[in-house]
Subunit: 296 residues, 4 copies
């Protein structure tokens, strides 16, 4: 990180570098060791709520999880274009190795990086208990998951699309996923692999008590509403957004995934080429690996 | 049919009624029986190649197959908006019962019918054998299928997306399907159910020799090319478009599903409401039918 | 229940009727109401550990869950043949409606009831923590489930068969199921439907991070061992047997499903005919329901 | 082959070596080249019908297909134990590389080779057309397949188990597979992987018009009968046994897979160890391959 900061401040001096408070702590930690910041470097920081509207580009160093966490800081805000570096792990959101940071940073400032447009889901949690009527808006880059968690009983969920009942399902849970998330939890649950530029969302059941709940792809302009069915024996269900647990949903609460968006739901991710995805599903997932038929 | 023709010519006299030659034959057949055409009715007919560019609306009476065949007559042409009547069978393309023709015809002429936009695939078959270099363009409303047919050996196919190799598959075959076709053969082969308004196409394998060929959803703007692999033991593969067999593909031939379209690939289908599809997957497919747990 | 007890004591006077303490409580509850025990009825009861080796036949009234709970009382013991009555709910283990109890009880005592042989899994939980080295034996009629529960991270499990590593899986969990359990949780997770008289067990993954973990059927004579992988980020995993939660498994603990059985693992269930199962998968699961193609 | 024959006749002189007429032809072909038979070697040959009841051991050199063809020569006969050598290809039935033939042959004559018991299906084709009432018995080591082949319409099949209707299916076809065949065509069609020593058979649909035809595992003692449904639009269906096409089945014809066996249906295959299968599903199928998450 130190090297990248030094490089930017030397070669692109008009750029302001804003670090999260967490990053600042890391920099000052003794383990940052050998590397030290150039004297001329000027850094900005602050609480997320203060710095997030000042960012023109979001840069991350780490794995897919790091990007999800960074983007989640921009829940309810526009997300600036993302340049993400991998430190060795592979991932669908990780086109660049950190070793190539000089070339990438130069391309960024020269506007020569390609971008792939991904989308987020805008999710509203509406609580109907009078004492705590909460309407929380939150964005998901991968998926919104409702799951029974450690509850011994299956949950029953009612799913509405554009105001009409689509289905009632008794299951471990359900996933509403972006195409980006189609290679994450939805894949494990049997969902198809969807190219990230498709304008749609996946509705994938988790272990349904049914032989015929084939995964669905719905338009991204759908209004989806999910709530615990009155017949559900469980009184609450675990709500998880991009792997982060939110407070449980209870009888009467509703999840809305809305088409009338308050916030732009697009995310621009810097990419290596137009076919990173084709390469990634082969390299990362071992997509359609043929059987071995001859001696190695 | 006679009743509808009579009704239109009486109540919407400015409309010209064009029948396919096949329909004319039916009218004159003795089995047309009790019903007879009103004396004032004026009909037009001709070969498909002559009449298809004169149609403002395409009207069908029959099942989903009737619509597919009617639309296939407009392969390489724009398809006029479709008003389809069912004679008792259920289908995803059959919102209206023929018994309600009066109301529907009136709504049609009053521009009060809703439409659902579906899309076609534009498929080019390129033969590389010098003696018969053919470049056939054909449109698919449901799907393009490559299958080994009655050949005892599996086929090997190479699949390219936007010029890069996506995968090589050894299988019974492969399906490239529209969202409309996602409830047809692709569904039987394990594909997801995709809402017809999604701008994408499904790539669904048929019995692949692989544990990891999860069905894919690709952007409708993809350039897809499929050809028999050099390692395929079969020298030909059966090509079927919307259930109609075309001549076999051989080594060297290529199927292109192209993004640079020569013809508008949208089809406007008259619909009953915005959520016909939600109702249809429940009524027609028995989607997510719950298990019986109490006595009937 | 009262009616059945009265009927048995009147018509089959040599039979001793043993009730669980729980049943005795129910009988004495005011809600037992209108029905009252015949004066001549003599009942026996006691703690489960005392009465279970005295039972020649196990009779249940309720749903599939009632049978599972009753059989779980015989964990580590031979299970007597089971005659189960349904009170309205449908189930694979419920061939008889309670309304027909007279005929069924008479057939039982005349040895004229058919039986279907089902099997249990014998599961040993071996804890390796010195302070609490526990070797618990427990039997499963449906399935043994290892699941991450409400833990946010997937679990990594190592699975051994007959002493050799079969696979390492990162997943929500894994199910080891009897054929009886193949229509329960394993079915929801994508497992095949296995006839209850097959001598085998199902290994079905729950949402695995893999495209190629096809469910397996292994011989019932296999020695299966599962443990938390060293690389698992979770330190514990939820262990559930037939829907009943046991204490969590931790790093170092092992689950053994053993072939050298200490206890006979067969369960004899009274059945209506030889093909109850064929009928049940159709009636209960809606197996292979065809699509609707004509108007109802 | 020549080397193995020479080795056997030198080191195990009491053994009689029988070659199929096809093998004799190969030996005399100039391409057999460098290798020549020892002068002392005495060979026996004859038509298959004459030599098959004289064989105590069946030895094959080649791939899985070679074994299937060799075993198919013993349709309607007991199959002698099989010792199969691979010439480089991998396969579930190929435990030994041909390079190790000396050790294997010695172990064979010393009765020191392990065996794995596999089973065949006994299939009777009963034609009901008076002019050609045929009752053909044939055995399948992998699977019996009914498929529409190049017929444009799906087929409708009625499936009976033990005399009762199990289901009626509209599909591309259906597979009745042995556990041995569970890693062949049934796997491609979505069937589970079944250990070869399980006493059961798989009923796996091929592209069914249904969301709820989950693959089934039935007891090997089931009586299965399949016939073209009266409602099938196709008048014939392609019948294939272990990849070899038989004459088409027509309306009225019946396939019976019977429990009252006329011929022992077990096949003893020489194996390397008890866990060849565990190793094979990993090595050959890439079973449960984990996703790549770190740089190679």
């Amino acid at each position: 990180m130190v090297d990248i900061i030094n490089y930017i401040s030397q070669h692109h001096q008009h750029a302001n570098i804003i670090l999260s408070e967490h990053n600042i702590d890391e920099l000052q930690h003794p383990s940052a060791g050998g590397h030290s910041l150039d004297d001329r470097v000027r850094l900005f920081t602050g609480e997320v709520k203060d710095i997030r509207f000042k960012a023109d580009v979001l840069m991350t160093i780490g794995g897919d999880g790091t990007i999800l966490r960074a983007v989640s800081q921009f829940s309810n805000f526009n997300v600036p274009p993302i340049l993400s570096f991998s430190m060795g792990t592979l991932g669908f959101l990780l086109p660049f190795d950190v070793g190539s940071y000089r070339a990438r940073v130069d391309e960024l400032f020269a506007n020569r990086l390609r971008v792939l447009q991904r989308s987020r889901l805008e999710c509203h949690v509406i609580g109907t208990h009078p004492s705590e009527a909460r309407v929380n808006m939150v964005h998901a880059m991968n998926e919104i998951t409702l799951h029974r968690g450690s509850n011994p009983n299956l949950i029953s969920l009612d799913v509405y699309v554009d105001g009409e009942c689509l289905t009632s399902t008794t299951a471990d849970g359900i996933i509403v996923s972006t195409p980006t998330g189609s290679t994450a939890y939805s894949l494990s649950s049997g969902g198809s692999i969807v190219h990230p530029s498709i304008r749609g969302l996946l509705l994938t059941p988790i272990c349904p008590r049914s032989l015929s709940f084939r995964p669905l792809i719905l338009p991204s302009t759908s209004d989806i509403m999910i709530r615990l069915s009155q017949k559900s024996r469980n009184v609450s269900v675990k709500l998880t957004i991009d792997g982060i647990e939110l407070s449980d949903m209870r009888h009467g609460d509703e999840i809305h995934i809305r088409k009338q968006l308050d916030i732009d739901n697009h995310i621009w991710c810097m990419a290596q080429g137009d076919n990173d995805w084709t390469k990634d599903i082969n390299d990362l997932l071992g997509f359609n690996k043929q059987f071995n038929e001859s001696k190695r």
